[in-house]
Structure formats: structure tokens, C-alpha cells
């Protein structure tokens, strides 16, 4: 990144980012310094990639014209805490309109790959066309600037995400890695491939502690392009932490936003796992395909019950003081720590546990481990399987696939493995397509073709306007549950004003836990940009850029053929209300109709011309 201005909002073209475009068909490489079009470009991530995707009309995700864009955010690799994000963008194989066109999508993860990538001197890689042979891509820092090479990768074929990374580490000991698993390699049959990102912890311990850019099948797109892995080789270039950034970092750790994520031993909530306890207070923990039963069954996977039998260790990303991970290992009879199993985050734990009728921690952990090793998005995988189990429960006389039902661990495990191996396209292509095939779409828990996270849709009608999958692109998931808001005005305001700002984190390179409640239009971010790059940006400028980026995402969805009727929750939510959920009903047909009307009245005028 070259900066020739201190005022990027007024003069974005004076900021140039360094891009390499790789033609996978010819092997041609083109390096360019690209002037920014606007502040969204400067901030980076999907704010930039979606502008490039908007310039292409793509009707099928698996076509040569669909690029895979790998980029970082402005703060990725900086001294700001959590600044580790890498973004993968393209038209999605799994998320698509009923008109049959793919949606633009991004996915992001931490790990140290993003920082290493940035430290090579490159800000963005665009992959065009596809390679005839499997390759991995080496991005390395040289005295002449960043260099990109395509390398043969037959030796990596068929390996798990973790095994690929371990194999590449032998060859590149000072590098970090992004790799797909067998699911991404089997892109024809599996649209939910994830990209695994290596962590310091993983490379040191040799345990499969990757992070994942999971959503939207970016790993499958990478597989289509025949890229099995990316290697970022550079020196560590973390600068000295300034007093201003030190103050910000301290606020990230001590501030309210990360309190629930800190380990319990430090007075925190114990990571995202704690959502189990909170949501269960309302009987709103998804059970058996999003149908909570008003009983205590989810409590079996409460931390207090799991820690009796398993070793739980709080761990952190590189240089992060939040320490949000809960890594679960076997526990020996003498209390000693055994084999590492998986990281218990709320989403994968619920969607590959309670929501499948699996209530034994060890079984849930093994399913999470399998999903991670095969490189599948645990949300899409879990929700597609839960749909299948619900179908089989409703049709005991004529079940489909292997006849699995809720709680049948062995059969569910078989589904995960076969989906990962590319042998079960019914699962691998997601819940929208499976439900269209069965003809029973009402209880398929996706919105706009992308599976829902583990927050009941009854608690979040905002899902309909999430542009990259709720809940991480529309922060309304706590508006009812946490804030108690059940009136129309609060929901209109939440969706159209405050809660969409969460997507700003997917531009700038920071994890959402940096300040999840407030987004990036804050003095903390302003201080970081001034300290790291001598850039003067106001919070208003940042918020305006985030809003434009969000609206561009909405406009792109409409351009790809989504009708307004597709901005909706699964039909079961309003057709068969779940009386067990102890919260006001805000998903009645009447409430939703009013909400849709008022939200579109606000968004629609702003969408005009935004893709021009």
C-alpha cells in the first residue's frame, strides 16, 4: 500500500494498493499499483472486492470469469489487536437466488496467514480462469517486492486441511498457509468448502488448530480453480506498538465488547460457548433443526457439564489478549490432558451438536473435527444435515440417504465423511437445493440460500437483510434476546441504521470481537489509522463507507436475481410458531410484512445507482 495523502476520504486515489493478478490458465502474472476509488477501497476486504465483483455479470459460480479475490484489510498485520483478517471473495457456489444465479460473497478468518500475506508487500491477489493441474501458490517477499509463483501440488491432493498445512510447513518453515480440504477439492459435489488458515499455535503444536474462512463456499471456488493452498512467506514485520495503539488494545481487552469472550478465570464469560447458557434462559437454543422443545436438553453441552469429562483450555490468536478460544481435549483418568479434539465455538458446537440431537460433548467434538479436517463450513454442513434429519423424522416410512435421524451419531458421522469426500452432493450442495429436491422447503433453515447460524430465526428477522449470512453481517441477533426490543421501530432502526455496521470489520482487517457492539466507526479505529498510517479519517467518513459497502452488497443480491420475496425467514417460523421460545413473537406474518415495507422504503432509494 502506498499512501500519498493523509486524507483518504477526500483523496482516495492517492492511496494505491498492490495487486497481483494471476491467470491460472496461462500462468501469466501482472503486478499493479491500483489507485483507490473511494474510502471502501482504502479500507479493503469486501469493501473493495465487491466493487470489482459488481463489474462482472456471472451466472454460474464455476466459470472462468468468476474470480477468486484474496485480500486483506487496511489494518491487517498492524499492531492493532485482532488485526489478522484475510478475505476471500467471489461469486458463491452455495448462496444463490431462485433465478439460479450465484450471489457475490466474501468469507473471512484469522490465523496468521493474513499478516504474513500483507508483510510480503502484497495487498490483493486476483485469480482468473482455472489451472489445468492442481497448484499451490507461493507468495514471497523479495528485495524486488512481492513475487507470486504457481507450484505443482499433486502431492497435496486428498490431504486434510491440517495435513496440507503440515506438509507445506516442512518446505516453508517461516511461512503461513491457507489451504482447502477434500471438500473443496470435490467442488462439483460440495459447495460448502472452507479455507483453513494456519495459526502460530497450530504450527508449533502440530495440532489441527486452524481458523477458517468458512462461509459461502470460497474453498469450493478455490478448488474449482485447482488451487489447493496459498503460502505466504515473509519476515515478521510487526512494528513497535505506539502509545495510541497500546491504549486502544488495552481498551479492546478491558472494554465491554470483549468481556463475555474473556476466559472465566479472568472474570469473562468464557468465549462464544457462553451463548448456550444465555439462550437457554429463553429456551432459544436450536434443537433438532431449530425446534427448541422447552426442556433442559441443551444443558448437556453447557460448559459446566462438559468440563467434568474433558480438558478445556482457553487460548488466543496471535498477539490477541481476548483469548476467546475454548480448546477441548480428552481427559485421562488421572486428570491429565489427552488428545486435542476441537475448538468449541458456539456455532459449530450447536449446529453439529444439539441441533442434530447430539448431546455428548465427545461426539460433537468429533463431528467438528471432521468438518474442519475436510474443510467444510460447519454452519452450512450442520444445518443441511439437520434438515435431512427433520425430513427423515417426518417420513419414517421413506427416509432418504442413509436414513439418519436425530441423535444417531454413527449415521450422522457417515454423512459428514461422505459429504467431505464428495460422495453426497445432496448434503454438499446445501439445504436450499436439498429441500427443493424433496419439495419440502418450509423447514430448510437458510436465508437466500445460505444456512442460518445457531440463533433462532424467531429472535432475528434481520437475517433477511444479512448480505453474507446472518449473524456476522447483520448484528440484530441480540436485539430481541439481549436488548428486549420487540417493537417495529427498534427493528427498523436496528436493520437500517445500527446493526449493519458490523460488516465494517470485514473491510478493515479486524476481528469483530475488537468492538462488536459499535463497529469500526469509532475513535479507537480512528486512532489506529492515525498512528499506523498517519491517515486522518473521521468516524462519520468510516460509517458512511461501511454503509455504502453494505448497500452495494444488497444491490448486488438484487442484480443477481433475488426477488424481495426471497428476503425472508424459513416459512415454518411463521406458519408453525414455536410456543416453547420464551420471547415475544416478532415473526408473525403481520409483523414481518410491516418490517419489510419499512426497511425497503429506507434502503431502496439508496440502492439506486450504487453499482454504477
Amino acid at each position: 500500500m502506498k499512501s500519498l495523502t493523509t486524507d483518504p476520504a477526500a483523496n482516495p486515489a492517492a492511496i494505491l494498493y498492490h495487486r497481483c493478478t494471476v491467470d491460472l490458465k496461462t500462468g501469466e502474472l501482472r503486478y499493479t499499483d491500483v489507485p483507490c476509488r473511494n474510502l471502501e477501497d482504502v479500507l479493503g476486504g469486501f469493501g473493495r472486492s465487491f466493487q470489482d465483483l459488481a463489474m462482472r455479470q456471472i451466472d454460474n459460480a464455476y466459470c472462468d470469469e468468476n474470480p477468486l479475490i484474496v485480500n486483506t484489510g487496511l489494518l491487517t498485520g498492524s499492531t492493532a489487536m485482532t488485526a489478522l483478517r484475510t478475505y476471500f471473495s467471489g461469486y458463491s457456489p452455495i448462496k444463490g437466488s431462485k433465478a439460479g444465479r450465484p450471489a457475490a460473497m466474501w468469507s473471512t478468518g484469522s490465523g496468521k496467514f493474513g499478516a504474513k500475506f500483507k508483510w510480503t508487500g502484497l495487498d490483493e491477489l486476483i485469480f482468473e480462469n482455472r489451472s489445468e493441474q492442481p497448484v499451490y501458490v507461493l507468495i514471497k517477499e523479495t528485495v524486488a517486492g512481492p513475487q507470486v509463483e504457481l507450484k505443482p501440488a499433486e502431492h497435496l491432493l486428498g490431504l486434510s486441511t491440517h495435513a496440507k498445512i503440515m506438509a507445506l510447513q516442512q518446505e516453508y518453515p517461516n511461512a503461513h498457509f491457507a489451504a482447502i480440504g477434500p471438500a473443496g477439492e470435490n467442488w462439483q459435489q460440495n459447495y460448502m468448502g472452507a479455507v483453513a488458515l494456519s495459526t502460530e499455535n497450530q504450527l508449533k503444536s502440530k495440532q489441527d488448530k486452524c481458523r477458517f474462512a468458512g462461509r459461502g463456499g470460497m474453498g469450493s471456488l478455490m478448488g474449482y480453480k485447482n488451487i489447493l493452498a496459498l503460502v505466504a512467506q515473509s519476515r515478521d514485520k510487526l512494528g513497535k506498538v505506539s502509545e495510541a495503539v497500546k491504549k486502544v488494545n488495552l481498551n479492546v481487552i478491558k472494554g465491554g465488547g470483549s468481556a463475555r469472550l474473556q476466559p472465566i478465570s479472568r472474570g469473562g464469560g468464557g468465549g462464544t460457548w457462553a451463548a448456550y447458557d444465555v439462550l437457554q434462559a429463553f429456551h432459544a437454543v436450536p434443537v433438532n433443526n431449530f425446534r427448541p422443545q422447552g426442556n433442559a436438553i441443551p444443558e448437556k453441552l453447557f460448559r459446566e457439564n462438559v468440563e467434568k469429562e474433558y480438558d478445556i483450555k482457553s487460548e488466543a490468536c496471535y498477539r490477541c489478549g481476548i483469548t476467546c478460544h475454548n480448546n477441548i481435549s480428552e481427559k485421562g483418568a488421572d486428570g491429565s490432558k489427552g488428545e486435542f479434539l476441537a475448538k468449541f465455538d458456539y456455532e459449530p458446537l450447536n449446529l453439529l451438536g444439539t441441533n442434530l440431537g447430539i448431546h455428548a460433548a465427545g461426539e460433537a467434538a468429533r463431528l467438528i473435527q471432521l468438518a474442519d479436517n475436510y474443510g467444510m463450513d460447519s454452519i452450512s454442513l450442520g444445518v443441511t444435515i439437520s434438515y435431512l434429519l427433520a425430513y427423515n423424522e417426518r417420513h419414517p416410512e421413506k427416509p432418504i440417504l442413509n436414513g439418519a435421524t436425530f441423535g444417531d451419531y454413527e449415521k450422522i458421522r457417515e454423512l459428514v465423511i461422505k459429504a467431505g469426500e464428495g460422495e453426497l452432493p445432496e448434503i454438499g450442495r446445501g439445504s436450499m437445493r436439498l429441500s427443493q429436491a424433496t419439495g419440502e422447503t418450509g423447514y430448510a433453515y437458510h436465508v437466500k440460500g445460505l444456512e442460518l447460524p445457531a440463533y433462532q430465526p424467531e429472535t432475528n428477522p434481520g437475517y433477511a437483510w444479512a448480505i453474507a449470512g446472518g449473524h456476522m453481517s447483520m448484528a440484530t441477533y441480540g436485539l430481541l434476546t439481549r436488548e428486549g426490543k420487540s417493537d417495529l421501530d427498534s427493528w427498523v432502526k436496528g436493520i437500517t441504521q445500527n446493526k449493519l455496521h458490523m460488516v465494517g470489520f470485514d473491510m478493515i482487517g479486524l476481528c469483530k470481537f475488537f468492538d462488536i457492539a459499535n463497529g469500526i466507526g469509532t475513535q479507537m479505529v480512528v486512532d489506529c489509522l492515525k498512528s499506523e498510517f498517519n491517515l486522518e479519517v473521521s468516524t462519520d467518513d468510516i460509517r458512511a463507507a461501511v454503509r455504502r459497502a453494505f448497500l452495494r452488497g444488497l444491490a448486488l443480491e438484487l442484480r443477481q436475481g433475488y426477488t424481495k420475496a426471497e428476503f425472508c425467514l424459513p416459512a415454518e417460523v411463521s406458519e408453525d410458531p414455536n410456543s416453547h421460545i420464551n420471547l415475544p413473537n416478532i415473526t408473525s406474518s403481520e409483523f414481518i410484512a410491516q418490517l419489510e415495507k419499512r426497511v425497503w422504503e429506507i434502503f431502496e432509494p439508496e440502492l439506486e445507482g450504487i453499482l454504477d
Binding site: 444465555v278 445457531a454 439481549r482
Partner: protein, 74 residues
């Protein structure tokens, strides 16, 4: 007056799950919360008899007060 206090998640650590205790008439939610020495930044939601409530709400005989940690993220 008697009030039942229920704690959720990490708030239970070194405290209790559920406790019924006597409080003076006119006690507000905030006073019970302070007595429990829970860091304010960790408090997400207050429920009074199952409905969302505020720290300055006044408690009544037989009320059930539930304190929940912050929810968010995945």
C-alpha cells in the same frame, strides 16, 4: 420481601445458580447486582419475572430476578 435471584452462565462461578433471600421493600435491581460483585461490563440482560427489565427497576415480593451475561457473536 422475598426475591428469587437466578444467575446464568459464568455468573454462577463462586456464587450460586438460584437463591431466595430477604430484601428490604423498595430494593432496586441494581442494589442486588452490586451486592453480587459482578463486573458491570459483563452484564448483558436483566429479566424480571421473565421479562426484560432495567437496573433501576424496583423489586416486589415474590419476584424472580435473572441476571444474564452479554450475548453476542458466534
Amino acid at each position: 420481601m422475598q426475591v428469587k435471584v437466578k444467575l446464568i452462565g459464568a455468573f454462577r462461578t463462586d456464587r450460586f445458580k438460584e437463591n431466595i433471600a430477604e430484601y428490604p421493600d423498595g430494593t432496586r435491581v441494581e442494589e442486588i447486582f452490586s451486592q453480587l460483585q459482578i463486573p458491570k461490563r459483563a452484564l448483558g440482560t436483566v429479566l424480571l419475572n421473565g421479562l426484560h427489565a432495567r437496573l433501576d427497576d424496583v423489586l416486589n415480593e415474590g419476584d424472580t430476578l435473572t441476571l444474564l451475561p452479554i450475548l453476542g457473536g458466534g
